[in-house]
């Protein structure tokens, strides 16, 4: 049994303008010590899926179907009080935009301390030592705990957020765009840190990003999302080197590769479909370029094209139908 497994998760937003299905039939699983990269363009539903899993959706969001099994317990069936033990206790999230996620008028140390006291992770007396230990683990000098978030650089804030996510000894860390808006060198430092923590603490890590390069550098498995659905899901090597879905292939072709700097970058024409006006067939068909007439009518099912390699494309040749 996997540590975390998400089955057929669907999420809708009920707004004045209508009902939008932001996540449709999402499946994935995660083992301790492994990392999953959740990749897609803005608006593909990757953050919504993660908020649903944490049960932190905004009021307009509804989970319409699916299961989120953590060690066999379906988090979606828990009462709000029971959920507290899991949210931050077992699964933590590092939000996008560390500056906005930290409280500007309290010191970083006291914010970590608050999490420790609330969850009673350690006896009250040991809280100050635990703050030092957590900051040390993420590479922030102990002296900085008395400083305020604005005195931190972008990289240090991100580290502080990670320390806070680790405060309750979570086994799963979800990092939403952890390196967007950071310089390349700071990005490398944060990726190093996440990789080190994953190995040292046997953490399961989910990295949500639109940056394929980040995923290629650090993730074991990759799930590519498009228009709320899974496009392709496999281990990193298969996704990058034996990609089947045309969307994955086109994303890769749009990414500059320092080892082949002068090969022409091919952008993907068009835009992701608006969720209130999805095409009748495959959601990627209008931008795909290689699809046939069938793709305009039929919504592709998810098939297993090779062991552990899933894809939702009518052109893909199935090994066997399942998942």
């Amino acid at each position: 049994m996997s540590l975390l497994s998400v089955k057929n998760l669907s999420v809708e937003y009920h707004t004045d303008a209508g009902v939008f299905r932001a996540v449709d039939q999402l499946n994935f699983s995660l083992e301790p010590g492994r990392s999953l990269g959740l990749v897609g363009e803005s608006g593909c539903g990757k953050t919504t899926a993660m908020l649903a899993l944490m049960r932190l959706l905004p009021d307009a969001g509804r989970i319409v179907s699916g299961e989120v099994l953590f060690d066999g317990v379906d988090l979606l069936q828990l009462s709000p009080a029971e959920m507290l033990a899991y949210r931050w206790g077992k699964i933590s999230m590092v939000f996008q935009g560390a500056m906005n996620a930290l409280n500007p008028v309290r010191t970083v140390g006291s914010q970590i301390g608050e999490a420790l006291k609330l969850h009673k992770t350690v006896p009250r007396k040991e809280v100050p030592d635990e703050i030092d230990r957590l900051l040390d683990m993420v590479g922030v000098t102990a002296g900085s705990k008395k400083q305020y978030p604005h005195q931190y650089s972008g990289g240090m804030r991100q580290r502080a957020m990670i320390a806070m996510a680790l405060a309750c000894r979570s086994q799963v860390i979800i990092a939403d765009e952890p390196t967007t808006a950071l310089d390349v060198m700071v990005q490398a430092q944060i990726l190093d840190l996440l990789q080190r923590l994953q190995a040292e603490l046997n953490l399961a890590v989910i990295i949500v990003t639109h940056d394929l390069g980040v995923v290629a550098e650090v993730c074991d498995d990759v799930l590519v999302m498009y228009g709320g659905r899974m496009a392709e899901y496999a281990d990193a090597d298969a996704v990058f080197n034996q990609s089947v879905h045309p969307y994955t292939k086109r994303l890769l072709a749009a990414f500059p590769d320092i080892n082949a700097p002068r090969s022409e970058l091919a952008s993907i024409p068009g835009h992701p479909p608006p969720l209130n006006d999805l095409p009748p067939g495959c959601r990627f068909e209008p931008r795909c370029g290689v699809g046939g007439e069938k793709c305009t009518r039929e919504n592709p099912e998810i098939i297993e094209v090779a062991p552990g390699h899933y894809c939702s494309c009518l052109l893909a040749r199935p090994e066997k139908r399942s998942l």
Binding site: E41, A216, C219, L252, P261
Partner: protein, 332 residues
């Protein structure tokens, strides 16, 4: 005149005084300065794209702003098409400059006025410079600029507001309002870093296209060496206000000589898990530009530093093939 570089920057320095505060003033503490740019020289031939690459605080944006006259250098000379910006009076300088030199900022979500239509945003420069006398002429020029920026058909976009556009389309509108004056020199400050990866490629291709078709000279400012490698003819790597390595893009990327460039190269994500390599991750961040390290500015973070690096400041050394780097280790 034709062989003259489009832009010539000589020994540019820009210091920002640090506020001493009332106590500092009363106790006559010495004035401190932020050394944003500290002796930068380069030139760009007409029609070339130069990438300024570096981390936050390396002075790359300040350099770009100085070449546009948007901030005044403390020392040094900037010649644009042979004219020294410092020799021109403020008013004349602005008029001459704004017509031929334009900038594209990083964030297309912030650089457009949400209450202006695309037509209003793109035609504003024409009004400022009195370049269109009739509305028909204005529409014609705006349409041409939108088309050059890849917003086709232009008529579809004229009356839209920024919130009705995607990120990539917004950045194209920003580019169109820079193009409407037919500039010969363009500074693009991180034009793709806020955009999704799928859209970045089309904006980079658009910039390349502008150079090829309109012969626009460009400074491309970025922290991402991979996109610099894709778009630029030459690359200048900056660290703490100085250029540490400069040369043709292929040469610098194939054979980086400065330890900082090597480290930057090693942390660029490669979109293939089979090519994962050891990242040379530098500790800490760019140091405080008020209290600069002695000797080589990079030595406190340099993985290859030797004792003399903390004493002697390296100068740019010629490595042949227009390739220069400033590192003491290159001497032997």
């Amino acid at each position: 005149m034709t062989n003259e570089p489009m832009l010539k920057v000589e020994n540019l320095r820009k210091l920002y005084p640090v506020s001493k505060g009332i106590i500092g003033t009363l106790t006559r503490q010495p004035q401190l300065y932020v050394h944003a740019i500290d002796g930068v020289s380069f030139d760009i031939p007409r029609g070339e794209i130069l990438a300024l690459v570096g981390e936050s605080g390396s002075g790359k944006t300040t350099t770009g702003l100085c070449t546009l006259g948007l901030t005044e250098p403390t020392e040094g000379n900037i010649h644009l098409e042979g004219e020294n910006l410092a020799d021109l009076s403020r008013a004349r300088q602005q008029k001459a400059l704004r017509r031929k030199a334009q900038i594209i900022f990083q964030d297309p979500y912030e650089s457009l006025n949400p209450r202006q239509t695309v037509f209003q945003a793109v035609s504003e420069p024409l009004e400022v410079h009195h370049l269109a006398s009739t509305r028909a002429e204005k529409i014609e020029k705006v349409t041409a600029a939108l088309e050059a920026a890849g917003l086709k058909p232009p008529a579809d976009f004229l009356h839209r507001y920024p919130q009705q556009l995607s990120g990539g389309q917004r950045q194209r509108v920003v580019i169109a309002s820079a193009l409407v004056l037919n500039p010969s020199y363009l500074v693009a400050d991180e034009p793709v870093s806020m955009l999704d990866v799928s859209i970045r490629a089309e904006i980079l291709n658009l910039l390349l296209n502008l150079r090829d078709e309109h012969n626009i000279t460009m400074v491309y400012i970025t922290h991402d060496l991979a996109s610099a490698a894709y778009i630029a003819d030459r690359v200048a790597v900056m660290y703490l206000g100085t250029i540490v390595e400069i040369g043709p893009a292929e040469t610098v990327l194939d054979d980086p000589r400065h330890p900082y460039t090597k480290a930057l190269m090693s942390v660029i994500p490669v979109p293939n898990p089979r090519q994962r390599k050891k990242r040379i991750v530098l500790k800490g961040e760019t140091p405080n530009p008020i209290d600069l390290p002695t000797g080589c500015r990079f030595h406190p973070r340099c993985p290859e530093a030797i004792p003399s690096c903390s004493k002697t400041e390296p100068k740019l050394e010629d490595l042949g093939d227009n390739h220069q780097a400033a590192c003491l280790l290159l001497k032997d």
